[in-house]
């Protein structure tokens, strides 16, 4: 029977390529998701003092995954009090012992990485390929890296015996829920601070799962506290008078509001805000590699990346050739079920974000830029956006100036390296940039001229715990990662 059927099953072709058979990851691997969650305070899961509950949905299906508490001022106060209480013992612990807790956490993350990857993909909408191969390995690596610093702080270059600040209030975004948690919690704990973290209101589940990991690791109660909620909870946390340090990753307007709120206090502040990176391609660049870099730069994580290469600056002489190659490549991107291991572009994180992307791309069209997307079927439910390219973009267009935070690439051209630098630097942001050329001296010259905290040359969107990350200008201040990342949590 099977033999006879074989001939009948013609492989499906699309864009001249064979379609992949579905390769779904099991949602069950995410482990049990409770119907409702409270906060994690003082080492225990506790009920909120308020009655308001928020819902987190799977953006790929629009199904409600769980309810979780909206943290009230009182909840925040309880969490800060727990962190304050834990601070005395935690900061007094020898660094070598703190290190062991962090190493334990890193190991448990590795052990449970499949579970966490699936859960992250379900809650966030990002492809399992990325959570599995990018997010989770980096999350574990951050805890490993900062674990090693805990007993070596005297050698970090901030003078002998640098001291922790106290209680750190940390507010993180929804685009990399676990990675941002790791960026914030690992250095805070290594340096002897205790933490109250507020995850984003659309992606709280992996932070709450991380709380379980803290318990498995035997982390002393109150060292890590997680309070869920929306911006109101975040504002209550950053405003709390007993918080000594505020770390925020998110939008520039919110970062600006926090900086204002903290003016006149002694709270130390680090901000990692928006960006509008230029990805600059010269005529001598290796085209195929550049195309891969451009795709990775803007379509990685649905473009929900503050350092995404959202402005392609291409040298005029190779514009046509590059755009042809780019469109060819974009046509092969698979948009759909995030749990399918073949998926390149998953779901947009929320209806709200989808509306924002739609509004900005509509503005791009109405301002006269030319829009192009490959044809691709989108699932009936969930929040989706086709990978989109705009050509004929001028510097004044909103899509060239504003952060879209979606899979939308604006293409501009230049003739000379000087012009490329001027256009690249022509935003209030200064987070990242890309350069594609075979000429080494030009790379170094460009890297020097670009006002950006991270410059990727002949590559893009690479991260590592040893490598400092953070912006110039209105992309914020302070660095995360590396030795530099310690400074934000030390009294120096």
């Amino acid at each position: 029977m099977a033999k006879n059927n074989k001939k009948a099953e013609e492989p499906v072709r699309k864009n001249g390529l064979f379609e992949y058979a579905p390769a779904p990851e099991s949602p069950a691997a995410a482990g049990d998701i409770a119907t409702s969650y409270g906060h994690f305070i003082g080492g225990e899961f506790v009920e909120s003092s308020g009655s308001e509950a928020l819902k987190t949905v799977n953006p790929a299906t629009e199904q409600v995954l769980a309810e979780f508490a909206h943290g009230t001022d009182e909840d925040v106060d309880r969490a800060v009090t727990a962190a304050r209480k834990a601070f005395a013992d935690w900061s007094a612990l020898p660094g070598s012992e703190r290190a062991k807790y962090l190493f334990r956490i890193a190991r448990i993350i590795q052990e449970r990485s499949r579970e966490l990857a699936v859960l992250e993909s379900i809650d966030n909408g990002k492809p399992i390929r990325e959570t599995r191969d990018v997010d989770l390995p980096l999350v574990a690596a951050h805890f490993f890296y900062y674990a090693g610093w805990a007993d070596k702080l005297d050698y970090a270059g901030f003078g002998p015996n640098p001291r922790p600040l106290g209680v750190a209030g940390q507010v993180i975004p929804w685009n990399f829920p676990l990675l941002m948690l790791a960026w914030k919690i690992a250095p805070a704990l290594a340096t002897g601070n205790t933490v109250v973290l507020k995850p984003a209101e659309t992606t709280p589940l992996t932070a709450l799962r991380f709380a379980e990991i803290c318990r498995q690791a035997g982390l002393p109660k109150g060292v890590v506290n997680i309070v869920t909620g929306d911006g109101r909870t975040g504002a209550a946390l950053t405003a709390h008078p007993d918080v000594n340090k505020v770390a925020f990753t998110g939008s520039t307007p919110v970062g600006r509001a926090i900086a204002k709120q903290l003016a006149g206090t002694r709270k130390k502040l680090s901000l990692e805000l928006g960006g509008k990176a230029a990805n600059i391609v010269f005529d001598d660049a290796p085209i195929d590699q550049a195309v891969e870099g451009i795709v990775n730069g803007i379509f990685f994580n649905q473009g929900h990346v503050c350092c995404a290469g959202s402005r392609l600056l291409v040298q005029e002489s190779i514009q046509d050739e590059l755009l042809d190659a780019l469109k060819r490549r974009m046509a092969t991107l698979r948009v759909g079920d995030p749990l399918d291991k073949n998926t390149d572009i998953g779901a947009i994180n929320s209806a709200e974000q989808l509306a924002r992307i739609t509004a900005l791309t509509d503005a791009g069209e109405s301002e006269g830029a030319e829009r192009w997307s490959p044809s691709c079927d989108l699932p009936a439910n969930g929040f989706w956006f086709r990978p989109t390219l705009f050509t004929g973009v001028s510097q004044a267009h909103r899509i060239a100036q504003e952060e879209i935070f979606g899979p939308v690439l604006s293409v501009l051209t230049f003739r000379t390296p000087t012009e490329a630098v001027e256009k690249a630097n022509n935003t209030p942001y200064g987070l990242s940039a890309g350069i594609w050329t075979e000429k080494g001296s030009r790379i170094l010259w460009m890297a020097n001229q670009l006002k950006a905290g991270v410059v990727w040359a002949n590559t893009f969107n690479k991260f590592d715990p040893t490598s400092p990350f953070g912006g110039y200008k209105e992309s914020g201040y302070g660095r995360e990662g590396g030795r530099h990342g310690l400074e934000a949590y030390l009294d120096v």
């Binding site: 690596a141 270059g157 003078g159 520039t252 970062g255 600006r256 900086a259 204002k260 003016a263 006149g264 002694r266 901000l271 805000l273 200064g430 790379i443 890297a447 950006a452 905290g453 991270v454 410059v455 990727w456 040359a457 002949n458 590559t459 690479k462 590592d464 040893t466 490598s467 400092p468 990350f469 953070g470 110039y472 200008k473 209105e474 914020g476 201040y477 660095r479 590396g482 030795r483 530099h484 120096v492």
Partner: protein, 300 residues
């Protein structure tokens, strides 16, 4: 003419130092500067918000050249400032003595310390990248390097309190910021601006390109908010923002700086208890630096 007729001193007309030139204030006005006992010393130009904006323009224009010069060259220029100051040690000692009401010996010691501080920072220009940057051993085939870069134009509200604030304190806030390639607009201590204005004369003859340091005298309450809110200022040092106007003034300036997400150095909790002769450490050297990290693949 009688031999007994005492010789009249030649008074000095103090002027602002902006863009390498010595303009009078755009306001055409001056204010009285007195010694610590209230005795008239001189009329200082009453710098205005417009003067502050002009100074920011000059500072911005100087960023490219100053940040682009070699660290070796910047070090030489800073050392040259120390040389020039050495020659005018007596003048500065007299100005510091009257400004702060300290004795001649103490004032001379404060000036010596200020000269030594220039020398110290001169030696930092070509070393700071080696302590603030480095190679990052990333897990992959990449060459990955972090280097510090200047933030750009920095506004400084000069110290108005603490032992030695009028000159040693002033030098302690300016020198580290320009050592790293930034340019500066400094609002001099409102009540003790004369050493700062005289420093302008020294800087003008020290091979320091015009616009790298701009010195304004006047009401701190006029000049500081302009610097804090200015779109083209990248960072603000509020060291002296507290003394005259109470703690609220520093908070308001910091809130204003938040609009453009400026890097802010806050005043000390007790500025009047500061002793500027203390070793400065590297804090101020690193305050207005950005870390740029460059990745490049390695392979054949």
């Amino acid at each position: 003419m009688s031999d007994l007729m005492p010789r009249l001193d030649v008074f000095k007309t103090y002027k602002l130092y902006v863009g390498g030139k010595f303009p009078r204030s755009e306001s055409g006005r001056v204010y009285e500067v007195t010694d610590s006992k209230g005795q008239w010393l001189a009329n200082a130009p009453l710098g205005t918000r417009k003067d502050a904006r002009d100074a920011v323009l000059a500072a911005r224009a100087a960023v490219k050249g100053w940040s682009g010069t070699t660290a070796y060259n910047r070090g030489q220029v800073l050392y040259r400032v120390a040389e020039m100051l050495q020659g005018r040690r007596e003048q500065f000692a007299a100005e510091v003595a009257t400004a702060e009401g300290v004795g001649g010996k103490k004032a001379a010691a404060l000036v010596d310390a200020a000269i030594d501080r220039w020398v110290w920072y001169a030696g930092w220009t070509d070393k700071v990248a080696q302590i603030a940057g480095g190679a990052n051993p990333v897990a992959g085939p990449y060459f990955n390097l972090s280097t510090p870069e200047p933030s750009g134009v920095i506004g400084i509200v000069a110290p108005q309190a603490g032992y030695g604030h009028s000159f040693l304190g002033l030098v302690s806030v300016i020198a580290p910021v320009i050592a790293t390639g930034n340019t500066v607009v400094v609002a001099a201590a409102e009540k003790a601006p004369l050493p700062a204005l005289s420093l302008g004369e020294v800087l003008a003859t020290s091979d320091l390109p015009g616009g790298v340091v701009n010195v304004l005298s006047g009401r701190t309450a006029d000049i500081a908010p302009t610097l804090a809110s200015h779109q083209d200022v990248n960072g603000i040092d509020l060291t002296g923002a507290i003394a005259l106007d109470g703690p609220g003034a520093a908070a308001a300036l910091e809130a204003s700086a938040a609009d453009t997400l400026k890097r802010v150095t806050r005043p000390a909790e007790e500025p009047s208890s500061l002793d500027w002769t203390n070793p400065p450490g590297t804090d101020r050297l690193l305050s207005f630096l950005e870390t740029k990290t460059v990745w490049h693949p390695m392979g054949l």
